[in-house]
Amino acid sequence: MAYLTFKDFKSDQEVRWCPGCGDHAVLAALQRALPKVSQALNYEKERYVVVSGIGCSSRLPYYMDTYGFHSIHGRATAISTGIKVANPTLTVWQACGDGDALAIGGNHFIHAIRRNIDINIMLFNNQIYGLTKGQYSPTSKFGAITKTSPYGTVEHPFNPGSLVLGAKGTFFARSLDVELKLNEEIMTAAALHDGCSVMEFLTNCVIFNDGAHKSLSDPALRADNTIVLRQGEKMIFGKNKDKGLVYDGKKLRVVRIGEGGFTEEDILVHDAHKDNISIHMALADMKGPDYPVALGVIRDVKDITYDDGVRDQVKDVMVKSKIHSMDELLHSGSTWEVE
C-alpha cells in the first residue's frame, strides 16, 4: 500500500473558519496524524469516517477527504456509535465543540464513554458558543461575561477531563490548539487505543473569546502554567525544569526540585496505563494558579469495548442457536398444522 500523506486527507472544500481560529491548527494536526496512523495500523483511507455535530468545529468533516457525516447538534456521538457498531472495521473520528458535546449532547457523550465504544472524540473546547455568536457554554469560566451573561455567569463550568474520568473513561488527553506536534502524538495514541478516546483541545476563538487560554498558550507563560505528561517520564515542568509533582498520600503537590528536601527521585513518573484512576483524576483536575494544567495523554487503559462485545455476542449466539434463517425462525417454537 502506498503511504498516504496529509494531502490525501485534504478535501477540495474551502476552509471557512475565521482567520486565527484555533480549529485550523487542530485540522492540520489531524491531516498529519492520519497518514501516520494509517501506516502504523495498515488502514486504507476509505476506512476513515469523520463525524460531527453542529458548531464551528463541526464543519471539520467537509475539510477532510474521507467519508464524513455532519449531523445535528449534540448527536455526533450517537451517530458515531451507530457507525462503529454497524461496521467495526471503520475507524471513526468525531469533531465536536464544548456546547455540542457537553450541553445538548452531554448525555450521548457520557454514555459513549461508559460503553467504551471504539471511537475517537476530538473535543474543541473554546469555552464559548461561536457559531451563534458569543453565548456562554458549559465550559465558560464562572463569571464569564458573554452575550447571554452580560453581568457574568453564575454557574460553574465542567472540566471535560473530570467528566470523562468520572464516567470511567479509558482514554483522555488534553492539549492546546497551538501544540501541533503534541496534537499529532495525542491523535496517534488515540487511534491506537481500543475504546472511547477523548481528546480535549483547548482552542482559541479569536472573535468571541479571544485569549481564553492565553495563560496556557502564551509562550512566556506556557512552561510554568502547563505540564506535558509523557508515558514513563517524570512529571517535571517550568521554564527551568525545576518544578515537579509529588503525591503526598492524599493529593498532588507542586514542589521545587532541590527545595524542601525534594530531589528528582521524589517526582512522580507518569503512567497513563495504570488502571487506578485516582492519580489520573487528580492530574485532569489540576488548574492554576496552584497547579499547572496537564497536557498530553493523561489516561490510556485497556478495557473491553462495546463494539467488540456486540460483535462477539452475535457470533456466539450464531454458533449456539439452531435458528439461522427466517424460515427456521418462522417454524420455531409453538406451531400447529391445519390439514
Partner: protein, 614 residues
C-alpha cells in the same frame, strides 16, 4: 337442572383481575389453546400503566379479552359472553362489557367488606349496583378452593394465591369444552428449569377448577366452538410487536443487510426491541440507547455504514426523534421508524390504543420534510407492513414511518406461516464497486425515474463523500443557492410521491361503486370489516376501502372514491386522516366518524355510525 352443550359460532371471554393476578397470562393461555384447537381468534389486553397498581382498586384492574370462533373473527369482540372478575374492582371496571346474556364468574372470597370498599361499592349487592343482576352469576370461592386444593403441598400462602388464576382457567375450560392438555404442556415447559416444584400444584389447581365447574351444578350450559375452516398450512400465534420484529428480520434477510435496531424502552413498543434482541443468530444487533434521540441517531449512523437501520418507539418518542428524522430525510438514508401509537398527547394513556400520531408522522418536522408512511392493519399484518416499510426505505433511500398501534402490538391472532421464498428480494441502489478513471461519485445525483440517489458505503474505495443536515447540491457541495434549494425540496418530495408506482392499488371490499364507501386505515381494519359485512348482510349498499399506505396514497385513490355517492372516514382520532384526504383530494365531500377514548372501535358503534351516514 338440565345441562345442555350448545354449539356456538363464537364466544368472547374477558378475564379481569388485579394487575398482579395473572390475567394476561390466563387470557393468553386460553387464546393459545384455542388457536391450537383450530379456532379463529383475536385478543385484546387492556391493562393499567402501573406494574402493580394499588391492590384492589378499579385503576389497578388488568383485563384480557379473547374472541374465539369458527369463522370471521376480525376483532376481539365488543362485549363478552363470560366475564371473569377476580375481585370487586375487576367487576366494577368491566361489568359494562357484558352482553345481556353473559355469564359472570367472580371469586366470592374477594367480595368481602374490605374488597367492596376499595372498589368503591356503595351497597352490599355489587351486581344490582352495576345493573347486571339479571346475568348468569357464578360466585365461586376461588381463593379458598385453591387453598383447599393445595393444602397438602406445604406451600406458603403467597405461592398458593398465585395459582388462583389456574382454578379460574380450569373453570373456563369446562364452560367452553377446552381440553387441558395444552396447558399441562405449557406448565411443564414454563417451570421445568427453574421451578419444577410448581408444575404439579398448578396442574392440580387447573384440574380442580375444571372439576369444580363440572360438579357445582351452577353452570346451566356449556359450549363448544367448532374449529374454523382454515386454509391448510402451519400456523402460529403472533402478537403485532413480534410480527413487526420478524418482518424487519425478514427484510434483513431479503436485503442481505444486517439489522441494526437502536431503541429506548417505551410502552407499548418495547416488545419489538426485546424480540429483536433475542435473534442475534440472524445477525441482528440491538442497542438499547441512552434516550430516544440516541436510538434514532445510532440507527442513522448504522444506516450510513450500510445496515438495515431501525428505531422503534411510541408517540412521545417520535416527538423526540423529530429533528433526527429531518436529518435522515436530508442525508437521504434508509431508516425504518416504528411508532406503536398510544393515547396522547404527552404521556397520555401509555397502555391504551389510539391513531393520534398520524399528524405527527405526516407533518411533525421542521422544513419541507416528507416521509413515507406505512400502516399495519392487524397483529399478523405487522409482519408484511414492517417488511414493506423496510423495502421502501432501502430501495428509495428514505426514512419510512411504520404506524402500528398498541391494539395491534399487544393483540394477537393466529397466522399461517408464510414461506420466505414468496417474499421479494430487496435491492438497495448500491453504487457499482469501482469508479472508472476520472469518474467521481456525487452522493445526491438521482435516478431520473425514481429520483433515488445511489448508496456508497464507508469502506468503499474512491467513493469518499460527506452527508449531513445542511442543504447541498447534487454533487454534495454545501449550497444556500435559492434555486438549488427549491430544486432539492421538490426532488425530495417527488422521490416520496414516486413510491406510489411501487405500492399496491387500493382494494375495495364489496361493490366497486355505490352509495357509501367506508374508509379506514391501520388497526381499525377488523372492526370496520365486521361492521361493513354486518351491514351488507342486512342489505345495505356499503363498501369498504382500507389504507395500508398513507404517504404516498395509492394511485387509484381518487378513482375509487369517485364511484361512491358518499365517503365516510372512520378513525381513532379527531380526523387526522380525513383532513389529510381533504387536502390531497378536495374534490370529494367526506363524512367522518371518530373516537378518541384510548379504546378500539366497537363494531356496534361503527354499524350505527355507518347506518346514519347512509
Amino acid at each position: 337442572m338440565q345441562h345442555k352443550v350448545i354449539d356456538t359460532k363464537d364466544v368472547v371471554i374477558r378475564f379481569a383481575g388485579d394487575s398482579g393476578d395473572g390475567m394476561q397470562l390466563t387470557g393468553s393461555l386460553f387464546a393459545d389453546m384455542s388457536a391450537i384447537y383450530g379456532n379463529e381468534l383475536s385478543t385484546f389486553p387492556d391493562y393499567p400503566a402501573e406494574i402493580r397498581a394499588p391492590h384492589g382498586t378499579v385503576s389497578g384492574v388488568s383485563g384480557f379479552q379473547v374472541h374465539i370462533g369458527s369463522a370471521d373473527v376480525n376483532t376481539p369482540g365488543d362485549f363478552c359472553d363470560l366475564l371473569v372478575a377476580m375481585n370487586p374492582a375487576a367487576l366494577k371496571a368491566n361489568a359494562k362489557w357484558c352482553k345481556p346474556t353473559a355469564m359472570i364468574l367472580v371469586d366470592g372470597d374477594a367480595f368481602d367488606e374490605a374488597g367492596m370498599k376499595k372498589a368503591g361499592f356503595k351497597t352490599e349487592d355489587p351486581f344490582t349496583e352495576l345493573h347486571v343482576e339479571d346475568r348468569t352469576l357464578l360466585v365461586a370461592s376461588i381463593t379458598s378452593l385453591t387453598e383447599e386444593s393445595l393444602k397438602d403441598f406445604g406451600m406458603d400462602s403467597k405461592a398458593v394465591h398465585k395459582c388462583k388464576n389456574m382454578f379460574t382457567l380450569g373453570m373456563a375450560c369446562y364452560i367452553y369444552s377446552r381440553p387441558l392438555e395444552y396447558i399441562y404442556q405449557y406448565l411443564e415447559r414454563k417451570f421445568s428449569k427453574k421451578h419444577p416444584e410448581m408444575i404439579e400444584p398448578n396442574k392440580k389447581v387447573l384440574n380442580d377448577g375444571f372439576n369444580y365447574a363440572a360438579n357445582v351444578q351452577a353452570i346451566p350450559n356449556t359450549y363448544t366452538v367448532a374449529p374454523a375452516k382454515l386454509k391448510k398450512g402451519t400456523y402460529r400465534n403472533m402478537t403485532g410487536n413480534q410480527a413487526t420484529a420478524w418482518g424487519l428480520l425478514a427484510a434483513s434477510e431479503k436485503s442481505s443487510l444486517p439489522l441494526f435496531c437502536g431503541s429506548y424502552p417505551i410502552t407499548p413498543a418495547t416488545a419489538i426491541l426485546e424480540e429483536l434482541a433475542i435473534h442475534k443468530s440472524l445477525g441482528a444487533k440491538t442497542l438499547q440507547a441512552e434516550d430516544e434521540i440516541a436510538g434514532i441517531c445510532t440507527a442513522i449512523g448504522a444506516a450510513f455504514a450500510g445496515n438495515l437501520a431501525v428505531t422503534t418507539t411510541s408517540g412521545p418518542g417520535l416527538s423526540l426523534k423529530s429533528e433526527a428524522l429531518g436529518l435522515a430525510v436530508m442525508a437521504e438514508l434508509p431508516l425504518v421508524v416504528v411508532d406503536v401509537q398510544r393515547g396522547g398527547p404527552s404521556t397520555g394513556l401509555p397502555t391504551k390504543t389510539e391513531q393520534t400520531d398520524l399528524g405527527q408522522a405526516l407533518y411533525g418536522r421542521n422544513g419541507e420534510c416528507p416521509i413515507p408512511i406505512v400502516a399495519a392493519h392487524s397483529p399478523a399484518n405487522c409482519f408484511d407492513a414492517a417488511f414493506n416499510a423496510a423495502k421502501i426505505a432501502l430501495e428509495h433511500m428514505t426514512p419510512v414511518i411504520l404506524l402500528s398501534e398498541g391494539f395491534l402490538g399487544n393483540g394477537s391472532e393466529p397466522w399461517r406461516i408464510p414461506s420466505m421464498a414468496d417474499y421479494p428480494e430487496i435491492k438497495p441502489p448500491f453504487v457499482d464497486g469501482v469508479l472508472s478513471e476520472g469518474e467521481r461519485y456525487y452522493p445526491f445525483q438521482r435516478d431520473p425515474e425514481t429520483f433515488v440517489r445511489r448508496w456508497a458505503l464507508p469502506g468503499q474505495k474512491g467513493f469518499e463523500h460527506r452527508v449531513g443536515g445542511l442543504e447541498k447540491t447534487h454533487e454534495g457541495v454545501l449550497s444556500t443557492d435559492p434555486a438549488n434549494h427549491a430544486m432539492m425540496v421538490a426532488e425530495r418530495a417527488a422521490k416520496v410521491q414516486k413510491i406510489a408506482d411501487f405500492i399496491p392499488a387500493l382494494d375495495v371490499d364489496g361493490p366497486a361503486s355505490g352509495k357509501l364507501l367506508v374508509v379506514g386505515w391501520g388497526g381499525t381494519y377488523g372492526h370496520i370489516l365486521s361492521a361493513v359485512h354486518e351491514l351488507r348482510e342486512a342489505g345495505k349498499d356499503v363498501s369498504f376501502a382500507h389504507f395500508d399506505y398513507i404517504l404516498p396514497l395509492p394511485k387509484n385513490t381518487a378513482e375509487v372514491f369517485s364511484h361512491f355517492e358518499k365517503v365516510i372516514v372512520c378513525e381513532l382520532n379527531s380526523g387526522q386522516f380525513v383532513n389529510y384526504l381533504r387536502g390531497v383530494y378536495p374534490q370529494f365531500d367526506y363524512l367522518q366518524f371518530n373516537k378518541v377514548q384510548g379504546q378500539p372501535f366497537l363494531v356496534s358503534e361503527l354499524v350505527s355510525a355507518i347506518n346514519e351516514a347512509l
